[in-house]
Each structure stands twice: as structure tokens, then as C-alpha cells.
């Protein structure tokens, strides 16, 4: 092997990941971000530190002292919002998001039982991986992020036939249906679904996602909108809730995702 003694590898490559790493710890950020109310603080901490084994008892204790809806919004969801901030700051990464979301869901399931009439989700969305496509890891991550943002997610799984996807939209009338595809020959399911939906009189956005899909493709069919990365999906969903249609989402896409 050649010797590399004396070689200056800073002339070869730059480790931006090391140079730019955030030195702040989750604990330091938590001090500024967690709720001040001691009960909500404790619940939010459970989510932030992904303590899915102890979040149950903590929520049960909190329910003795606070309103269940407040525990959800000011404790569990507040904790998840801290996690989202830590993720955005590159302090937390995907595994922390997944585990924190799991922790939050355990807590919500307990608190929700004491909310009269149950919890009302922001909206229902349908997610699936395209017919013929077994790749669904991106969809699973996006589903976690949507649930964590308060949406009811109907996850249809992988390799979902076009007719089944359309039938589900007709049945539940979701805010949007998203599809992921890793292959150029399976992503053609999305325009096919959109075409059938339009013919049936639905204006439901059909979000194209996944490794094979790009913005140009998703914008090439009526009803089509695009989400490049999982964290963008709740941002787009919020705009649909605000009344945007698929055309306006396309027009303002850059601003909506805002570098996410």
C-alpha cells in the first residue's frame, strides 16, 4: 500500500459533517423548549427522551391532575414538537423521531380514552406504495410524521392495486392520497389513480413520492402534487387543510416546504 504520510487530505476532501456539527445537547435545548407547567413538563420529557416504557404511568398520573386534552396538546404533542425542533437542528435523527412518535402514540392512546367523544384528528389521509412496488420504507416514515402531526393515517401497505387505492378514496374521502414508488414502471399508478378519481368527480390530491418520482412527474398529471421528503408531507397537508387545492400547492410548493 502506498504511504500517505505527509499528505494533506484537507486538499482532497472537507468533512462538512464534522465541521458543522451542532454542539448543543438535547438537554440544553430542552431547557428552552419544554413546557414550564410541571405536569406537562414531565409528560413532554417522556416523549422527548423516548421513554416508551414509562410514558404510560406518567400520563396516568398526569390524568389525575390535568384535563386529558390538555395533556395531549400541552404535554405529548408539545414533547413531539421539541423532538421536531431537535431533528431540524441536527441534534436528533430519524431513529429518535420514530421512537418519540411511538412514545407519544402510547400516551395519546391512554389520554384519548378520557376525552369525551374521543380525539378528533385534523383530517384523514390515505397512504400506499404503488401497485407492483414492494418498497415502502419512505411511506412508513411519512406515516409516522403525519400521525405525530395529528392526522388519522390509513396505511394501505405495499403493492396496492390501483382499483383498491381509488376505492379507499371513495370510501373515506381523505384530505389527500399519497403513493410511493421506487421504480419508474410502478409510478405510473399515480396518474392512473388520478385519472379515475377525476372521472368519478373527485378533486382529491394524489401525492407522488418515492425514489423514482420527481416533481416534474408528480406535476405532470391533474390532481398530482409532490412531496420529496417525509418531513415535507405534514407541511403540505396543513396547506390543504387551510384550503389550498392541488394547483395552489404546486404553485407555492417551494414556499410551503421552505427548505425542509
Amino acid at each position: 500500500m502506498l504511504s500517505c504520510e505527509g499528505a494533506d487530505f484537507s486538499k482532497v476532501l472537507k468533512r462538512y459533517d464534522v465541521d458543522m456539527q451542532v454542539e448543543v445537547t438535547p438537554e440544553e435545548m430542552a431547557k428552552k423548549l419544554l413546557p414550564t407547567d410541571p405536569v406537562f413538563h414531565k409528560v413532554a420529557e417522556e416523549v422527548m427522551y423516548m421513554r416508551f416504557k414509562t410514558v404510560g404511568p406518567t400520563v396516568m398520573q398526569a390524568l389525575k391532575e390535568r384535563d386529558p386534552l390538555d395533556i395531549i396538546n400541552n404535554g405529548l404533542v408539545a414533547g413531539m414538537e421539541v423532538v421536531a425542533k431537535l431533528y431540524a437542528e441536527h441534534v436528533y435523527y430519524l431513529p429518535e423521531i420514530m421512537m418519540a412518535a411511538k412514545t407519544m402514540e402510547i400516551g395519546i392512546a391512554l389520554a384519548e380514552k378520557q376525552v369525551p367523544g374521543g380525539l378528533t384528528p385534523k383530517a384523514t389521509v390515505v397512504m400506499h406504495a404503488a401497485e407492483g412496488d414492494p418498497h415502502d420504507i419512505g411511506k412508513n416514515i411519512a406515516a409516522v410524521m403525519m400521525r405525530a402531526s395529528g392526522y388519522n393515517v390509513i396505511d394501505m401497505g405495499r403493492d396496492v392495486p390501483i382499483v383498491d387505492a381509488v376505492a379507499k378514496v371513495e370510501e373515506v374521502k381523505p384530505l389527500f392520497i399519497s403513493g410511493t414508488a421506487l421504480m419508474t414502471t410502478t409510478m405510473t399508478a399515480f396518474p392512473a389513480e388520478a385519472k379515475i378519481l377525476q372521472e368519478k368527480g373527485y378533486n382529491t390530491p394524489v401525492m407522488g413520492c418515492g425514489g423514482a418520482v420527481n416533481r416534474e412527474f408528480a406535476n405532470s398529471y391533474d390532481l398530482g402534487i409532490y412531496s420529496e421528503k417525509a418531513p415535507q408531507t405534514p407541511l403540505i397537508a396543513q396547506k390543504l387543510l387551510d384550503g389550498y387545492d392541488w394547483k395552489k400547492i404546486r404553485d407555492e410548493w417551494d414556499n410551503i416546504v421552505n427548505g425542509e
Binding site: 435523527y93 431513529p95 414502471t185
Partner: protein
């Protein structure tokens, strides 16, 4: 086909590993001899959306456009050798769609070989559409899709219609890999990919090798694209923040113990381009390997674009959709890019400078990130040794590979050779701790994992792995 586990290294030392040469060259197609002293460009492609809807359209796309364009460009630029790789789109699990493509590509290769003397061949890579919850084995899969049955049908279709070399990107263990990568769980990855994945790969390749032999097709090899590559792509580059690169590097080491299983069941190489674990497997088996790196920017950007060329026998572009570019069609442009890189490597061999070029490739990326660091050929060799020393035990060899890779990274960090972020280091230390805590007994490990992942990996069915 009998399975022979690898317990010795094919190469006596790491320095003997070089691009273009393997210890067991393989001849096939029209004049190709892989691993016999020269590097061959391997061009991979995807048809345009919509062409899959009609058998004649699809045949035309693959044969009259894609294959012809590539072969023409090779003649135009004076490349003596080329391999095409057709990774079947999912619809090609039907004979009416795949058979004309396979036969047509064979015919056009023969034409160019006879007309111009261009040495060429086609690798046919069938789709593995099996689903863990529907059954990975025909006797378990009673679903409407019957993907486990179709898998072996596809192998027959490919071989009987003229595949020169056969490959697959198998999905055994994927139900654990997906969970492991998104949740940062190295034990789940070890169980799913290192142990269960190796069992599945052994199972399918024993049968695939028999099918290949029946039709005189070369059984090439497999890859852990569905596991370690998912980790690598999600770990991404310096701006990404999904998966830690120390985690993805260790998954790569574990995946080598799985990819090796195809060779042990009779695959003779070249293995698959997307198997970045190829240098580790080559060190153990001496069989030729296909690799991809800087000339696959059409498909993805990784952090070892030069390094991974260090001991390749085929040099690939991973995949590009067929479309026009300024310089011709996309496949022509990438054939040119690959062909010139192979030319450089072959010139180095002819001038006796191959080890120098290999080391230049390697050093260019050695410190770019953890994955490059463990795949540098000297480290890849060490990981290979860890596997071979435990070769007869599928669990222990995968664990040994992961631990060896993790400790190489730790040593690199401690010696200030490899920089790591605080988070990468934290995850690395946690991986070492978790792997060291695991039992040395396979039964205990399986028992532990079955219980531990019962809720988090509900798609796991032991019957898929004959357990």
C-alpha cells in the same frame, strides 16, 4: 447444489486484491472473461414509464433502443468489452414480457460480436417481489400474488431464454432491515440480515444455481441492496440527518456475511454492482465482483465513489432511465463514462501501475466517511477474515463482521485517522456495546430476538426461514 461454507480467505493478503483480476475468472456471453486481467464496464438502465404496458413496446425499448444504443456507443468509442444488465421491472414476472427481451438482447449482442468483434454479454437480474407477510417460500406463500412461486418461475424464464449471467437482489430479512434502519437497531439488523437473510439466500441460491446449470447460465450473485444500501442511502451525505454513517457502515459489514451465502451455494460471480460489500466477499471467495461508485451519479451520490473501484472486475452505473441527453441517449452517455474509467484502469494494468491507481482510488475516499473507511481494501480484508474464522456459523460470522467493522472505525477515530461527529461516535459506541453483550450461542440469540422483536416486527414469520 451442495452448500460449502467459506472458512478460509481466498487471498493470502489484502495487497493482492486488485481491480480487473480475481482468483476465479468467469467466461460467458460473447467473448467476455470477467476477472481475467481487465475491467469491464457494465451498463444498467430502466425503460421509460409506460413501455411496460405492452410486450412489443418493452422489447423494442430494451433491445432496439437501449441495447443497440449502448453497443453502438462502445464501438464508436473503441471499447473492447461491455456487459449489459437488465434489472427486470416488476411486470416482467410474466413470460410474455420477459422472454422477448432476454432473447432479443442475446441476439443483438451476438450480432455486434460477429460484426465488430465487440465482446459482450447480458446479466439478467430478476425481481424478488416476495413479501414476508405473504411467505418467502412457495410452501408458505398461499397468497393471491404467489410471489414466492413467481420468483423461481422468473429464474427459469431468464435462463431458458438466454441469460448469460443470472442475478437477483433478494429480500430475505428485509422486514427486520426496514425496522432496524429507521429505528437505529443494530441487533435487529444482525438478526434479520446477518442471520435470517443468510438462511434465505442459501435457500434461494441452491435452487437458482440448479436452474442456471440446467440452462448453462452463469449463476452470478446477489447483494444486500434491500438492507445495507437502504441504510447507506438514508445515511446519505453531509447534509442528511436520518441515519448515522457509523450505523450504515456496520450494516455493510454484516451484509457481507449474507451476500457470501450465494457464493457458498454455488454462485460463481460476478456479484451485483450495488453490493458495496463486494470487496469483503471477494477477499474471502476470490470470485469477481461488480461495483459502482463515481460513475453511477445518474442513480445516487455516495461517499466512496473512487475507493469502491479499488478491486472491481465490472464497473457499473447502477441504473439510468432511458432518455435523451446532449451527448446521445442516457445509456450512451453513461456507457461512455464507464468505458473511459475502465480504460484508465486497464491502462494502469498494462503499464504495471495497477496497485498505484488502486491506492489512489482508495486514499481519495478513505477518510471521507465511516463506510468508505471500512471498505478500504485493507479493512475489507480484515472483516473478511472475521467472517471466515466463523464461517460455519451464520450468526457468529455476521456478528464478528459487525464487531470487526465497528472496532476498525473506533480504532480509526482513536488514532485520529478518521474523524467522526459526536453523534456518529455515540452511535458507534452503542453498537459495540450491544454487539458485545449478545450471546455466542445461536439458539439463545434466536430466542432473544424472537421475543424482543415480536411487537416491533410483526411481519416476521419463522416459517419463511425454515425455523
Amino acid at each position: 447444489m451442495a452448500v460449502t461454507r467459506c472458512t478460509k480467505m481466498a487471498y493470502e493478503n489484502a495487497d493482492d486484491m486488485i481491480f480487473g483480476s480475481s482468483q476465479h475468472p468467469v467466461s460467458y456471453g460473447f467473448g467476455l472473461k470477467v476477472g481475467a486481467g481487465y475491467v469491464i464496464p457494465e451498463v444498467n438502465y430502466a425503460p421509460r414509464p409506460g413501455t411496460e404496458k405492452d410486450p412489443e413496446k418493452l422489447r423494442k425499448e430494451y433491445v432496439d433502443y437501449i441495447s443497440k444504443d449502448i453497443l453502438n456507443r462502445c464501438v464508436t468509442a473503441g471499447f473492447p468489452n461491455v456487459q449489459l444488465e437488465t434489472e427486470w421491472v416488476s411486470q416482467m414476472n410474466q413470460e410474455k414480457l420477459c422472454a422477448p427481451v432476454v432473447a432479443g438482447q442475446k441476439a443483438i449482442c451476438e450480432k455486434f460480436h460477429e460484426e465488430y468483434g465487440l465482446n459482450c454479454a447480458v446479466r439478467q437480474t430478476i425481481p424478488d417481489q416476495r413479501e414476508a407477510d405473504e411467505g418467502l417460500r412457495p410452501e408458505v406463500d398461499k397468497s393471491e400474488h404467489a410471489y414466492a412461486h413467481k420468483f423461481f418461475e422468473c429464474a427459469e424464464f431468464a435462463c431458458e431464454n438466454g441469460a448469460d449471467v443470472f442475478s437477483v437482489e433478494s429480500v430475505g430479512g428485509k422486514e427486520f432491515a426496514d425496522y432496524a434502519v429507521t429505528n437505529g437497531d443494530i441487533v435487529a439488523f444482525l438478526f434479520g440480515v446477518g442471520y435470517l437473510g443468510a438462511i434465505d439466500m442459501t435457500y434461494i441460491w441452491e435452487q437458482c444455481v440448479d436452474i442456471c446449470k440446467k440452462h448453462k447460465t452463469i449463476p452470478g450473485g446477489d447483494t444486500n441492496c434491500s438492507g445495507a444500501n437502504v441504510a447507506m442511502f438514508m445515511a446519505g451525505g453531509y447534509l442528511d440527518n436520518d441515519v448515522q454513517r457509523t450505523f450504515s457502515a456496520v450494516t455493510r459489514c454484516i451484509s457481507a456475511a449474507r451476500t457470501l451465502a450465494a457464493c457458498e451455494a454455488g454462485a460463481v460471480g460476478p456479484d451485483k454492482d450495488c453490493g458495496y460489500e463486494g470487496p469483503i466477499v471477494k477477499a474471502i471467495t476470490g470470485k469477481p465482483t461488480a461495483q459502482e461508485g463515481k460513475n453511477c451519479q445518474c442513480a445516487h451520490c455516495d461517499l466512496q465513489g473512487n475507493l469502491i473501484a479499488q478491486c472491481c472486475d465490472l464497473w457499473s452505473n447502477e441504473s439510468v432511465e432511458y432518455h435523451p441527453e446532449f451527448g446521445g441517449t442516457s445509456v450512451q452517455c453513461w456507457a461512455g463514462s464507464l468505458g473511459y474509467e475502465a480504460s484508465l484502469m486497464n491502462t494502469a494494468i498494462q503499464l504495471g501501475q495497477e496497485k498505484t491507481l488502486r491506492d489512489l482510488y482508495m486514499y481519495s475516499d478513505r477518510f471521507r466517511g465511516p463506510e468508505a473507511y471500512v471498505l478500504a481494501y485493507d479493512h475489507a480484508y480484515m472483516i473478511g477474515q472475521a467472517i471466515a474464522e466463523n464461517g460455519n456459523d451464520l450468526y457468529m460470522r455476521a456478528k464478528a463482521a459487525g464487531l470487526c467493522g465497528a472496532k476498525i472505525l473506533k480504532q480509526g477515530y482513536d488514532s485520529k485517522e478518521l474523524a467522526l461527529t459526536n453523534k456518529q461516535l455515540e452511535v458507534l459506541n452503542d453498537i459495540i456495546k450491544k454487539l458485545e453483550e449478545l450471546p455466542d450461542d445461536t439458539d439463545k440469540f434466536v430466542e432473544y430476538c424472537t421475543k424482543e422483536f415480536q411487537e416491533s416486527v410483526p411481519r416476521y414469520n419463522p416459517k419463511n426461514y425454515g425455523l
